[in-house]
């Protein structure tokens, strides 16, 4: 008997962006074309593009970590508070006169540490991820307040802004370049490294993965810690963008991150999603934001547009996926 009898599966053609990624690419193109046209060139101005890239980078960096966490089937809603708390801790170091070089590790370590706390509560404490991080969301925010009192930290070294935001390499603000680099690294990691593949295996079928000798706990731990680390880095960059820490720094941030990741096609139940999708999702979110400013629409329409886009994008695909009962 030959394969032909059964009708061999068709060989896929050249791998083009599929499904959600294609949809996002088209959405993005339409948005950019429309905004470019109706903003009378303001969209393409150097200053606007720089702003757009910097804001995108700051959302994108934690979104990379969030993507991995969601690939394992988890979620972290404490990211905004985490960003606020690392900013407060690192900002305090700046205020105490530490140099940039000495403070950068503080940001990273603080972020990783907070991510570790989440990981331990979820893995060892067996608390569902939503609930555990809901708890740390308010706890971290409280600690921000303990650290800052009612003060603002404004002694952020200008060099931070210059290095990450003002300076350009290859036409891009440094932070955007870093974010892009991280996306590529993460993408390569997920695609080509053993652990990366285990992340997907775990999210697809945790029981099968466990039986195949993969250790889900370790991977989950690494994912939450990584998200914390990247959030710590994003906190540093936030201070580069606007050199001030206050108690509300980072509130509302997590919703943007989750929206970007989900819009990018990462499934909430794990095992499905790509870094390219997250990159595109982030850009759509930020371009909508930017366009609303440029087109002199009341900025408040931003949320409405975002909500409608999420419902439309996900509603369409999940209606299609759902079959029978």
């Amino acid at each position: 008997m030959s394969a032909a009898v059964m009708g061999a599966p068709k060989v896929p053609r050249l791998r083009l962006p599929q499904g959600r990624e294609a949809l996002l690419l088209i959405t993005l193109a339409v948005l950019v074309a429309g905004i470019g046209m109706f903003s009378h060139g303001a969209f393409w101005s150097r200053i606007n593009l720089d702003n757009l890239f910097v804001s995108s980078a700051i959302t994108l960096i934690p979104a990379i970590g969030m993507t991995v966490v969601m690939l394992t089937g988890g979620i972290d809603v404490s990211t905004g508070s985490m960003l606020g708390l690392t900013a407060a801790i690192g900002g305090s170091c700046f205020a105490a006169g530490w140099s940039l070089a000495a403070t950068v590790p503080v940001f990273l370590l603080a972020g990783a540490g907070l991510g570790l706390v989440n990981a331990v509560l979820i893995i060892k404490g067996k608390i569902p991820p939503v609930i555990a991080t809901l708890g740390t969301l308010s706890i971290y925010r409280m600690i921000v307040f303990i650290v800052l009192g009612s003060n603002w930290i404004t002694q952020i070294p200008p060099v931070l802004t210059r290095v990450f935001v003002v300076d350009h390499v290859l036409w891009l603000p440094v932070v955007a370049l870093i974010a892009l680099g991280l996306v590529i690294v993460a993408s390569l990691f997920l695609r080509y490294f053993r652990w990366g593949r285990h992340v997907y295996a775990l999210g697809n079928n945790e029981e099968a993965a466990r039986l195949a000798g993969i250790r889900p706990e370790r991977i989950k731990l690494a994912a939450y810690v990584m998200l914390g680390l990247l959030t710590g880095f994003a906190a540093l960059l936030t201070l580069g963008q606007s050199p001030m820490v206050q108690t509300s720094t980072g509130s509302g941030f997590v919703l943007q991150v989750i929206a970007a990741v989900v819009l990018g096609g990462t499934s909430l139940s794990g095992g499905r999603g790509t870094m390219a999708g997250t990159l595109l999702g982030t850009l759509v979110v930020q371009v909508v934001d930017d366009g609303i400013v440029l087109l002199h629409i009341q900025p408040f329409w931003n949320g409405v547009a975002l909500g409608v886009i999420i419902l439309a994008a996900i509603g369409l695909s999940s209606r299609r996926d759902a079959g029978g009962m």
């Binding site: 939503v130 706890i139 409280m142 909430l268 408040f300 999420i310 419902l311 999940s318």
Partner: protein, 322 residues
Amino acid sequence: MHASGFDRTRPLLLAAMAVLALAGFAVGHPDILSGANFGSMAVFGVEIGMIALGQTLVISGGDSGIDLSVGAIAGLAQVVLGRLLHADVTWPLAVAVTLGVGLGLGAINALAVTWLRIAPIIATLATLFGYAGLALVLSGGTNIDLTQQSSWFLALGQGHVLGLPFQLIALYLPLLAMFAFLQHGTGYGRALYLTGTNDRAAALAGLRVGRLRGAAYVLCGLTATIAGIVGAARLGTARPDAGMNDNLISIAIVVLGGTGIFGGTGSVVGTALATVVIAIVDYGLSYNDFNPIYQAGVIGVILIGVILVENPVLAWRARRFK
């Protein structure tokens, strides 16, 4: 065992916590135990407490049910109400229209979850953006002053009945009674519990799973709207961002009150007790001049603490049950 799977240990734990918290605060400030202070505590707790009632139904319906948009609904409701009042609509009509709008917002959530089949956390995240955005659009991003409105309207949030806050006696307690009746006394409540326990079995037993869950989202929209109206009347202003933290706190209260996030368990009675604990902690902290941010932080600590303590106990029980 009751059909709701309501466990008696959690309410006892909560009652003990409430007493302890109260006692703790009373050591520093004995006068916190005065009637007036209890009234203020109630005012603190009523609005979030109402939202938590609706949230309880949503979560107990299973399928990772959750409503993140409650705060945005409360804010949007305030703005709609404010605009109507400023357009010289009489206040009872304005309140009625606002309630209708709230039901509609809840219905959008219901459709997104049951018809579009979007995961509840994502669906209500999207509507959170949408509703909060609409609130800003309708208000122009500024607060709407309502202090000049009819004193009858303002009494919704400032009045007293028998020396106790109007919204506690005339709104919250009746709502609690209604929800408790709905959950434990009616066929709807029974069916929702069964759906939350095993939705495939429920569907094959002839229960309309989608409608049951959808109704929970609609009711949740309604309670958030009422909370928004009360808040507007209490402060004499309609704020588009009124409910900013309500989503997280209401979920924390529900979980703290003993409703499992996997559905099919819990009770609004537990939710009400958890609300009391939160109201005491909240008021006690502010009475001692702590910033409101501590309130949320302490809720977080309590939430995680209770689950960490309870998980091993439940695991032990499950083993014995097997």
